[in-house]
Symmetry: C2
Subunit: 334 residues, 2 copies
Amino acid sequence: MITIYDIAKLTGFSPTTVSKVFNDYADVSPKTRRKILEAAEQLGYLPNAHARSLTTKRSWTIGVLFNEPSGAGILHPYFAGVIEGFKKVSTSRGYDLMFISKDIGGKKSSYLEHCKIRGVDGVVVILPDFTDPYFLELLESSIPCVLLDQESVTKSTVCSDNMAGSIMAVEHLYSLGHRLIAHIGGGNTFAGKKRLQGYLHAMEELRLSVNPEHVVQGSYDYTVESGRLAMEELLQASERPTAVFAAGDNLAVGAMMAVKSHGLSVPGDISIIGFDDIEMVKFLTPSLTTIRQDTYALGNKAADMLIYTIEGGDEVQSDMIPVQLVIRESCRSL
Amino acid sequence: MITIYDIAKLTGFSPTTVSKVFNDYADVSPKTRRKILEAAEQLGYLPNAHARSLTTKRSWTIGVLFNEPSGAGILHPYFAGVIEGFKKVSTSRGYDLMFISKDIGGKKSSYLEHCKIRGVDGVVVILPDFTDPYFLELLESSIPCVLLDQESVTKSTVCSDNMAGSIMAVEHLYSLGHRLIAHIGGGNTFAGKKRLQGYLHAMEELRLSVNPEHVVQGSYDYTVESGRLAMEELLQASERPTAVFAAGDNLAVGAMMAVKSHGLSVPGDISIIGFDDIEMVKFLTPSLTTIRQDTYALGNKAADMLIYTIEGGDEVQSDMIPVQLVIRESCRSL
DNA sequence: GTGAAAGCGCTAACAC
DNA sequence: GTGTTAGCGCTTTCAC
């Protein structure tokens, strides 16, 4: 391995000066800088990130925390989109991404411990289950964090405008003439609660009464199966809704399947609107009307915030990304 | 930060002995070990991975290389499934995963340089485009690698049994009475070529002639749009195929869209079979008959191989994971 | 502008 | 069983 000492030896300068060149110090003469750079090139020098981190206490690494137990984690398009956007800006700012789990060295540990051992500079958290004690521990630590779809006063947060999206969804159904509008909720998650809240708010604004039987919770993992189950429940209601607003596209897909399995039609008998706009839904029959989240923008913004904190900013930030109604075929006009 | 020196001071032992305890050396008395462990616990000691790596030249980190230019990268369910499986076993073996890009420190560099700077112990490569010069450079290096869907004599490889899967697909169509079977290819990728090969092989075995107009290439990125385009082309053929074997589910979905847009029915007029079994396709109308790849097993196996190499094994391994025909509604019997 | 010296936290000979 | 010593590759005072 080529080190700065090799370059020092070759050029006759000291390791200190070589180091200064690679750290863009101003007090190196242009001539010296050039010679050192040439020697580095010639020797094929590459810096050693571990050695650098050991002295500087900066790893230029960002930990990525996401849902593992459900396994849905990375497989969900929401996660993938956010990470893609996050990676884009963090990479361009010089940071690499590392997955953080509760395992380390094959042994169980906490997220916080894992982060400290690896010396990550910050963490992006994409974890629907905010009751996890290990997550709480991380929140209380002093490690820079940005949270997606969470609320916090100590850490920065980013989320979609869930309220506005839900209101759009309900208003869209209303404008089509629907009055009996049901809701399949996203469980006990931040997004799920906001969307429920948006639904309730919109119903009230429109002076529509909410039949308690018309609000059922899907599980926090937003799976198709969970949507199917929820729809089965809705179908048992004394009064059948004419439209359903599902808090996630997977839930909506499950709901569509349930409706069809009862020999009913979407949108003939029941209109369905989702939330997310994951890629698949535009190919369904009928294609799904939904509220599009800009996952890429969510990731971008999260990275901006986290790096701001890592690099010394101490203001706790929080931002909401606009969402958009995408009209397709799954909702009909009455 | 608590170091082994703090523990040494507190317990009266030397840093060496403390270090030995954490590295499970046998020559430490049980009593000493216990005292040191207690002190560590009490002080809240956590090891410093950078310092450790600096001396041992082992980072317990595995680099993940995947397709970035297309952006399809992590968003494709294939990638997500493989990584999920890969992460599972590597984590349990003590390794963490880090994304490797061509950017580092905000500057352009090569994958190989990135790996060396970060000191990763090995790399898993999930890159359809094997003509990338930076990928070639990595292949020629001595860094432990495992490649997915690639061929190599110097590095270990894992892939699905693409040939067998393609043969299954064609035979399935044949058994349903189809004789005019077209193919939408996966472009100039390893998997794409194997699947084309399997198609050709099966056609020959079944003594079916292949109309050259019935073989069209989708792009290497396996997108829906690419499948749509390819199907449009097939629809121009002098003789219309009764069935199409698409080299990927996205391609198949695109093909279905094209068929429908011409007022034709799947499977009424044209039967379609895909490859992958990504989650969405079972919810399509008609649901897609396809060849299922076990992406999780692919990832598991890749991790096993890579860790084998990292930990000193010098045999170049290669393995093929079985695939499976999943019959749904998109192929009809003639 | 340049360099000497110390130290980041840890492990690995080797001696005792 | 335990400790001494040196060193991994780099950065950072601080002196020149």
